[in-house]
Point group: C2
Chain length 422, copies 2
């Protein structure tokens, strides 16, 4: 039987536009991994009457109701009371959770005074499954009533998402007799329509496992999902599909279940004991920022130069002023000189150089917005790509940084560095 879930996010701050509803996105992704349909999200404020009406609507169209938010200690936080009432459950004081809340205050919140309100968080619907909160004081919970499963989670994403993964997913998995396992296939350098074209027949043919594309952070990704009696059986069913995707898309597949391109690059640099430095102009430090978003990057990512002003390319990286004059600041030669210069200055094994026009307007030379040269300098030689990345400052910058990371990835895995598809 296929289940249908509705997510009800509770919080006036969402309706005021103070925060974005990332919980609903993250939970939807995880529900999609579980093969559970989601037909509606609802957002409602900290108001018991309106929450009650939203629950009544949700009950009529879903058999799994997931709430986020409103489990805090203040009088605004009424999710548990409202949901328990709607499903005819009493709230019972849970001594075990009260003790956990006391300990959390003692260990983690020494500067805060625990008040009687905090104990209100230990009131839980009778007979529920308790979801312990490792990152805050409010426990979550789940219960079943009249064929509807109700799951309640705290609102802060740092509490909600780990709890959903650790507690709600196992709870929901048990509703199905089958295990559902999925993998994400990460692709660089191929457009969505190209990927769909290559794999349309496979996607239409497959029933279990399934293969479906999804877009994320401007990249195309594929998700393969299998339902089977055991994890190992599911893995065995997915292996030939992943092999087929790799065969059809070749080395544009840069990883399976890797988080980002920079994660893949960091892994390769560490594995091979290779160091990297970056010289950036139009991307303005985005490669540096993305590499150093990852903790532990300092072992292999030595640093970078953001040479935004033309003169700084000469002063900091030693790019010859004559070369800039002759070839133009946005040119293959300058990108290569930046890559070699930063490699030399930082004493790294590899250097990348990026120069281009991110827009919105062009420079004096009339080079079109979106023109970017990305170069890699390595002990064996140098490589460059001449890119036309279109309009949109943010998009051009992200895409140019992606190309620089992809060149490093391809170099480290022995692939043709200058090749990519569009």
């Amino acid at each position: 039987m296929t289940h249908t879930a509705e997510i009800i996010s509770v919080g006036t701050e969402l309706l005021l536009g103070n925060i974005v509803n990332s919980d609903a996105m993250d939970i939807s992704q995880m529900l999609s991994e579980l093969g559970i349909n989601v037909y509606f999200h609802t957002v409602v404020g900290d108001n018991p009457e309106r929450l009650k009406s939203a629950v009544a609507v949700a009950k009529s169209r879903a058999d799994i109701i997931i709430t986020t938010g409103g489990l805090g200690p203040t009088c605004d936080d009424l999710t548990k009371q409202t949901l328990a009432e709607a499903f005819g459950k009493k709230l019972i004081f849970d001594e075990h959770e009260a003790q956990a809340i006391r300990e959390y205050f003692e260990k983690r919140l020494r500067s805060h005074q625990m008040t009687d309100n905090n104990y209100q968080q230990a009131l839980l619907p009778e007979g529920c499954v308790v979801f312990h909160n490792d990152n805050g004081t409010a426990p979550g919970c789940a219960f079943e009533a009249g064929g509807v499963h109700v799951l309640m989670l705290p609102g802060p994403p740092v509490e909600c998402v780990p709890m959903f993964r650790a507690c709600a997913m196992p709870y929901l998995r048990k509703l199905s007799e089958l295990e559902i396992v999925s993998h994400n296939i990460h692709i660089f350098g191929l457009g969505e329509s190209f990927v769909e074209d290559k794999l349309r027949d496979t996607m239409l043919r497959l029933q279990n496992p399934t293969l479906a594309p999804y877009a994320k952070s401007g990249e195309v990704r594929l998700r393969v999902t299998a339902r089977a009696k055991s994890d190992s059986e599911a893995e065995a069913m997915m292996a030939p599909v992943i092999a087929e995707v790799r065969a059809k898309l070749g080395n544009c597949v840069y990883g399976i279940d890797t988080d980002t391109l920079e994660n893949t690059v960091l892994g390769l640099l560490r594995e091979k004991g290779v160091t990297l430095a970056s010289a950036e102009s139009c991307t303005g430090g985005l490669v540096s920022k993305r590499m150093t978003d990852l903790s532990g990057a300092s072992e292999v990512y030595l640093g970078g130069a953001v040479t935004y002003a033309v003169s700084s390319k000469t002063a900091i990286l030693g790019v010859s002023a004559e070369l800039i004059e002759e070839k133009g600041v946005v040119s293959r030669e300058v990108a290569l000189a930046m890559a070699s210069g930063v490699r030399e200055r930082f004493g790294s094994n590899l250097g990348v150089g990026i120069t281009g026009i991110a827009g919105p307007s062009s420079d004096d030379s009339g080079t079109p917005v979106g023109t970017v040269f990305v170069a890699l300098s390595a002990p064996e030689g140098t490589y460059a790509r001449h890119l036309h990345l279109g309009q949109g400052r943010e998009r051009v910058r992200i895409s140019a940084a992606n190309h620089a990371l992809d060149m490093v990835r391809r170099y480290l895995t022995g692939l043709p560095v200058e090749e990519w598809e569009k």
Copy 2:
């Protein structure tokens, strides 16, 4: 009369968790500026039956229905048809918009073939107000039926948000006899509880204009909103409130309606003709990235060095190896030497230097995570802050970059550079 709006976001990609519903957040913020209540957000997939049921629910509880998404040219895009039907409106072919779509294809999408489907976008509800789309092909629209105002906007944020501001806000403003004008007051260096404490009496006292705090990107902001017969009357009502906030919070108010701290800094640098360069360690290029997010930064922001490896601080910035050995790489002295070094290398008027431990783990010296030194080197002298920014890699990095930008701001406005409140 106070209006109540409901936002219905249409798109299966939202229910699959592929994208976050930023449109609902951005529109909610703008509705809050207009003084329009929002009690519910609903997300529904590309399914006409479920969209129809969501509209029926919304009609019963709101007198303004705003939809985003589902205006595209494919057969999945059914928002206009469904809403027109629900409110008994015919769709009429709008020759003027068809011409605009043709022109958009010719000018902006030369590589794409226009198909008959694209003309479907020129079908609009009879008697509607057309919202022209400057950033895509799908026009939006608004109509009134049975006391309910229906506004439809495209889904991509780059189309939706500018259209809401340019077309939907003026439409909604006319529903009220009063003009509603608001200003955002940006604050750096004061905690939310401190701000509330200082201004609680004022916030409680005021009815029109109102003063309310809101949190955004980890900063505390205040919004002052006035309703009056004219803009100028509203401005006159708000002026003393803004003056009172400035008097109570002093120079921690860094701007009114300025977008970000980097925007304020860029404005000051340009106004005073001063150039800046940055040397970053733990922030890994975040200052560079934020400065170069702004187009036109290259006139005053010359660039930066991301000296992530210890040795690169010496090689790139000329920080003495003995100094690093003696004082430690995370020290006031090294931050100052980085600031001075980058200023000299880039030939800029000002240099900032940042060194610290972003975590999650400390370095060999045992310096606690969150310890950061931020320094400013200027022609008249040098300045530094010793910060304890707590846990959380991302939070430490953002906060350290904020402090660097705040020091530049304070220097350029003649305020004590090393002072800040917590």
